[in-house]
Structures are given as C-alpha cells and as structure tokens.
Subunit: 203 residues, 2 copies
DNA sequence: CGGCATCGTTTGACGAACAAACTAGTTTTG
DNA sequence: CAAAACTAGTTTGTTCGTCAAACGATGCCG
C-alpha cells in the first residue's frame, strides 16, 4: 500500500501534547492521555482475556471478589462502575463458568454476597500474570520505575475519587459474615426468562 | 434514608487496590484506576463544557487544531481516537458554530485541512481555563506536585503509545502548507442528505 | 486513458449504557 | 399487627455511541 507515496514530510507537532514541556499551555491533555492509555489497555486486555466470560470486566469482578469479605452486588457495581443491571448477567455468566457463587446473606435475605470459588481463585491466579504482563506492554513507553510510580499515583487518585463519590455510602456492612456456605445456590431468582447472554450467535 | 442504620462495620478492603503496598499481587489495577479517573474526568468535563458543540470532544478537536499546521481530518481522527465518520459531523457542528473551518488543501483536493477561526481561538482560551480548573478538581485527591507528575507521565505514556501505534503510518504529509486561506469554504460536500445530528427526535 | 488507492461523507447495523417497571424481602409507622 | 416505605436484585425496553461497509470525488501511476 502507498507503494508510491514517498512523502518524507510529517505533521510537525499538531499532536495535543507531543514534545512535553515545549508549549506552556498544552498540559491540558489529561483526558486525552488517559483515553489513549485506557483504550490501549482495553484493546490488549480484551484479547488477552478472551477466555474469561466477560473479558476485562470479568477479571475486574473476579479480582474484586477474591480477597476479603464477599461484597454485595450493589457494592461491587458501585466500585467497578458497572450498572446494577449489567452486573446481574455478568455474574450470571461468571457463575455459570463456575468462577463465583452467589450466596444469600442470612442476615438480610434480599442481599446476594458474591464470593469466588476455588476454581475462580485458581483461574484468577493464572490470569493475573497475564494481566500484569499485558500492562507492562501497554506502559512500555515508560521505564520500569516510572511505570510503578504511574500505577501507584493512578490508584491513589482513583481511590480518592471513589471515596469522595457523591452517592457512595457509608453503609455496606458485613454483619457477621456468613462463615459457612450452607445457603444453597440462591435458588431464588433465575426463574426462567430469556438469557441475555448477548455475545453468542445473534440473528 | 437509612436514618437508623447505625452500622459501624465497613467492608474492610474489598476494593481492588485499597491500601497500596499492603498486598503484593494487588497492583494489577491499572485498568480500574484509569477507568475511575477517566470517568470522573468525563463527567465533570461534560458538564463544564456543555456549551461547546460536542463537549469534551469538541474541546479536544479545537485544542488539537489551534496550534500548528492545520491537520487533515484523518490525522485528527487518528490522534484523537475518533472514528472518521464521527469526525465528519463533529466538524460539521464545530464549523456551524464558527469555531473551525475546513479548507481544501490546494495540493491535494481530496483533503480537508481543519483550522481554528479567530473566534475558535478566543473560545479555546476561555475554555482552557475551565478545563484546567476542572482537572484540578478531578485530581483533588493528589497534592499539587503529584498532580503535575501524574499528568506528565500519563502524557508520556500516551504519546509513546500513539507513536508505536500499529496502523499509524509514516505518511501524513503537509506538503507545502496552504499559506493563504483563499480556498473558499469547501463548497463541495454537504450536498443535501439528512443531517445526522442524531440526538434529535428519533422514531 | 484505465486501474488502483485515499479522503471524506453517508448509511446501516450492532452492542453497550441508561432508565424504568417489577418482585421479593426488610424496616418503619400508625 | 397491618400498611406504607424502602432497598436489593432482576427484567425489560429505549437510547446512544461505535463500528463496518458502500459511495462519490480526487489523485497517482503505469
């Protein structure tokens, strides 16, 4: 292609913020920078995690669920910036894949607490390495210590934003925590209705 | 609400990466962090720039166009991660608002070069302050020097990504650059057809 | 002059996000 | 204790943005 378009001249510097430090008022690119980095992250991650039910989303959920106390779906949705309604079928698929389980909180039976299964933790461990590797690639333009620094600052900023979130509540209690898993696999819900799996062969 | 839900207990640490440095494998939150920050940025920006034709997008375009040589639409779209087809009506609206102008490159009449009008530059100057102020708010969780550092690193990462972009090519020449603006306001194109302003009353 | 490539525009379709209605369960109030 | 009010989760429908393909116009090259 362009086998005969030998044009050595290039756009000099129209890029929003190329040549940092050169133009004084050009450091208003935060949105652009984040969008570029995040998009690349997303691209690579989706192809790297294509075997997880919902790609990078599934990973986020799995990672958010695996460590401490099983959070409620609402709490999960809020942290991960995912709509409640989306969270529903996202968890449907993760559960179908045997990665997480929904258990009814005995203290408040409206609430489903999401916890990772053994298999889920195993998968997470494997996938996490892939994620780390991919992230390194995305930030390949930075040297190692700067990468680390960037991650750290981004995280601090994000945590601060989430904590200062308007609707974010002070009430997401754990009660006493289930302890044993003798709650039955929900049983409720899922009473028929079309599967909104999307993704599959549509039309 | 919850006027009487005095539950001091909180989720200890389910957040993907709260308490940084505590758990070794938890620094895989880059995607989450960026998503949170970017979303907040977007929210605030859209409300702060509601008077620009396409909000933060319009700002990006205006800012990318104002400094150096007028880029082609394709180059703009590539830099700003906007689809060609979207760029079309985005520029339609910016032009309608008198902020930019499309001029046919005399050297290659297929190409439209986008440049800011006088009014566009004025508006940009005003808006830029608003943007900076809003960004400070978004990064309020960081102290001032860290904010600056974060911006700087993010930009470096983004620039590196864009330069290493796969499809990004070495051919986006400027030729000799127009020089004078005696090209007439395109005239071509826009030959009837529905306005895809969307947005309006659909069905 | 005839094929091939590129830029910009238009059109169409698909998927994700958002909002609203509904059920089940819990808490509050008269 | 019963009714009202509220929350968690699911379901449904609508809307919006993004992406892919087709088209007209222009330029390049043999």
């Amino acid at each position: 292609m362009a086998s005969t378009t030998p044009e050595p001249a290039r756009l000099p510097d129209t890029r929003p913020g190329a040549d940092p430090g050169a133009d004084p008022g050009a450091d208003t690119n935060l949105g652009w920078s984040l969008a570029v980095v995040l998009r690349r992250w997303h691209e690579r991650m989706e192809s790297a995690l294509s075997d997880l039910p919902h790609g990078s989303r599934g990973y986020h959920v799995l990672a958010a669920v695996s460590p401490g106390e099983p959070p409620t779906q609402a709490a999960l949705a809020e942290r991960l910036l995912i709509d409640r309604s989306v969270m529903t079928y996202l968890l449907d698929d993760l559960e179908k894949a045997g990665l997480v389980r929904r258990r009814i909180d005995p203290g408040d039976r409206r609430v489903r607490r999401v916890c990772a299964t053994e298999h889920g933790r195993e998968v997470l461990a494997v996938v996490r390495e892939r994620v780390e590797h991919t992230e390194e690639q995305v930030l390949a333009g930075l040297d190692a210590p700067t990468r680390e620094l960037f991650r750290h600052i981004a995280q601090r900023a994000a945590v601060a934003i989430q904590e200062a979130s308007p609707a974010t509540d002070p009430c997401a209690a754990v009660r006493q925590v289930v302890g044993d898993g003798a709650e039955g696999p929900v049983g409720t819900a899922n009473r028929g209705g079309r599967r909104r799996t999307g993704r599959g062969t549509r039309n």
